[in-house]
């Protein structure tokens, strides 16, 4: 046991990280390198959404709006002030985080279904608002940016540089999220998710933790939006439409809400599924929908949640030491229903 993790988990994590580090050098071509860079970027957004929805139990169908804030912060800072991309990532995350934190206050009064409704409206309203702020955002046309270049002196292609940048930030933010969720904050959030009344009776400030979850979630979304803009070297309002926000939720749910590994699985899913689905259907929508429905029917805990349950079940059957409770999150806590039948 090192840092509270057993040796086998360490080995698996180290092997996966090594694979992620070496793959672009030996296995991946330029296209695949960029796609996997996007996997890391979406993993960041999904870790954030997971903090909000998986741990604090607040559903967001609108985290694409916070990605938009991050993406546009980067684009505008470069466009108007020529600030290099690297320096815009933190401001992008902080600005989105502030917006999310502020959105968290009205959200406090909205439970379950109504919060889903309000964030759904947020997602639908995002592109028109961006378009209406023409002088700042470039309106309908968006902002075309120069391609991000690998720093001179590093023997990397531009794609590889973007890949490692995204991977490094994703790992750092994963560890940050893990530390936060593993400690008192994580316990408080889970307590709120599983029963607000009981949590607040135990002295947990609902206002503090729920707005914090919104802020952290939006910070992650903002960083992801900033990196995605750097990667595509272009922003336009329609990139931050309803399907983006819904794809984020699909990724979080399919990966597994309330699990640490879920976001990475979910990100892989939402980046690669459209690429494969386009070979079958002209658009990815149908396969997204079918898979989302099937996951809700068969493994409502998502892939990671389902796998944890399977592992726990096997260990119990083997009669070994009782496994630590994997705590796969129910998709919605008892508080999430506007009224249960």
């Amino acid at each position: 046991m090192i840092l509270g993790i057993d040796r086998r988990t360490w080995a698996v994590a180290a092997a996966l990280l090594l694979l992620a580090l070496l793959a672009p050098l030996f296995v991946l071509d330029r296209f695949n390198t960029l796609q996997f860079a996007r996997v890391w970027i979406f993993a960041i957004a999904l870790i954030g959404l997971n903090v909000l929805t998986g741990y604090s139990g607040q559903v967001s169908l609108g985290n694409g709006a916070f990605m938009a804030i991050g993406g546009y912060t980067t684009a505008i800072l470069y466009w108007k002030l020529r600030i290099p991309y690297g320096w815009t990532i933190l401001p992008a995350g902080l600005l989105a985080g502030l917006a999310g934190y502020l959105f968290g206050f009205p959200a406090l009064k909205l439970s379950g279904l109504y919060l889903a409704l309000a964030t759904f409206a947020l997602a639908l309203a995002t592109p028109p608002v961006i378009k209406a702020m023409g002088p700042l955002t470039g309106g309908h046309e968006g902002i075309v940016l120069p391609q991000a270049l690998a720093p001179v002196g590093l023997d990397l292609t531009n794609e590889q540089w973007l890949y490692y940048l995204a991977l490094a930030i994703a790992v750092a933010l994963f560890l940050f999220g893990r530390a936060m969720l593993g400690g008192g904050t994580g316990r408080a959030l889970r307590a709120i998710r599983d029963g607000e009344t009981a949590a607040s009776a135990s002295g947990i400030s609902l206002t503090y933790y729920k707005t914090l979850a919104f802020g952290v979630s939006a910070f992650y979304a903002g960083v992801a939006g900033s990196l995605d803009t750097t990667l595509t070297a272009y922003v336009n309002p329609d990139a931050f439409d309803l399907p983006l926000s819904l794809a984020l939720l699909v990724g979080a749910v399919v990966g597994g809400l309330g699990t640490l590994g879920g976001p990475v699985l979910g990100a892989t899913f939402i980046v690669w599924l459209p690429i494969y689905a386009q070979r079958i259907f002209s658009r990815p929508d149908i396969s997204y929908g079918v898979i989302l429905i099937l996951v809700m029917f068969l493994v409502p805990q998502g892939i990671a949640g389902g796998a944890l349950r399977l592992l726990a079940w096997r260990r119990r059957r083997a009669g070994g030491r009782p496994a630590p409770d994997p705590e796969p999150a129910p998709v919605a806590g008892p508080e999430a229903g506007a009224g249960s039948r």
Binding site: P106, K109, A121, L124, A125, V129, A132, V331, S340
Partner: protein, 305 residues
């Protein structure tokens, strides 16, 4: 004299905008009615309601322009087909998660949203199509007391009011309507008294799908028909339903008319606001939920913790 003239034309313009607003409001009202029907029966929102309406509208388009069916016959046929479709969707997709937490149902309806939207794109493509208006109602507006009023606008308003009256009569005066209300309010008791609550739920989805299809067929001649037709309409319908009280059908219709008129007035008289109408929908939803969650005509919920 000049000032009087300007004032009267200003007034005419205002009345005209109000009528136009009531007409588009009728569309929001009918989709809001569909949302309320589902919400009343299972306390969940069907985020795919707009997409189902869009799909029904494409069926109507096929009937009218491809198979040359009479407009009004096609209107009725589409409602019937949509109702059957709504029942089938409830039986196959919603029933397995009927007792799951509300969020699970929301996610399933979001999955349905993707499937229906993608299926419509696959079948009918993404090229916008013109949808005919009701024959017998002239395109040209008529002048009433100096105000020109679109006759088709009156058709929209009338259809929605008839729809509301029919639903009211159904729930108030028929045994089936009574059974549906009972199943929604007291599922356990109703089951004990021999009401098939599952079937009532399916019927609720069927009714909602039929009502939703009407909203699609009403808006399609105004906007052009394509798979994303109903997404803004859904947002306004949600705003209408929330504004009127999400459990109250009459409230949904009132909410629809109010939202329609407000959007028309803001779009005309506030410079630059036309593009921000979707954001305005968001503002209505958040504001109502914060200030008066039960809506204009709803009754506040009191829960014991």
């Amino acid at each position: 004299m000049g000032i009087e003239l300007a004032a009267s034309s200003l007034l005419e313009g205002l009345v005209q905008q109000v009528v136009t607003g009531l007409a588009t409001g009728a569309v929001y009202a009918s989709l809001a009615l569909a949302l309320v029907l589902v919400f009343r029966s299972m306390h969940a929102l069907n985020f795919a309601q707009g997409e189902m309406a869009m799909f029904g509208t494409f069926i109507a388009w096929t009937l009218i322009t491809q198979l040359h069916v009479n407009y009004y016959l096609a209107f009725g046929l589409t409602i019937a087909i949509s109702m059957a479709g709504g029942v089938a969707i409830e039986r196959v997709i919603i029933r397995p998660v009927e007792r799951a937490p509300a969020l699970t149902v929301v996610l399933v309806t979001l999955g349905l949203f993707f499937v229906v939207n993608g299926a419509a794109g696959l079948i009918w493509g993404y090229v916008v199509k013109a949808f005919p208006g009701p024959p017998g109602f002239p395109q040209a507006p008529v002048a009433v007391a100096g105000v020109s009023i679109g006759v088709q606008d009156l058709f929209l308003i009338a259809v929605t009011l008839v729809l509301l009256a029919a639903l009211y009569a159904f729930f108030r005066f028929t045994r089936l309507g009574l059974a549906m209300r009972a199943a929604a309010l007291y599922p356990e008791t109703s089951r004990l008294l021999g009401v098939h609550t599952g079937r009532m739920l399916a019927l609720g989805w069927g009714l909602a799908a039929g009502v939703g299809a009407v909203s699609g067929m009403l808006i399609a001649p105004i906007e052009f028909l394509d798979p994303n037709l109903m997404q803004p309409v859904l947002l306004y319908a949600l705003a209408s339903a929330v504004l009127g009280g999400i459990e109250n059908p009459a409230g949904a219709v009132v909410g629809g008319f109010v939202v329609g008129v407000m959007l028309a007035l803001i779009g005309t008289y506030v410079p630059g606001a036309r593009d921000l109408r979707l954001a305005f929908g968001l503002v209505i939803i958040v504001a109502v939920l914060l200030v008066r969650p039960a809506g204009l005509l709803g009754r506040p919920h009191v829960a014991r913790v």
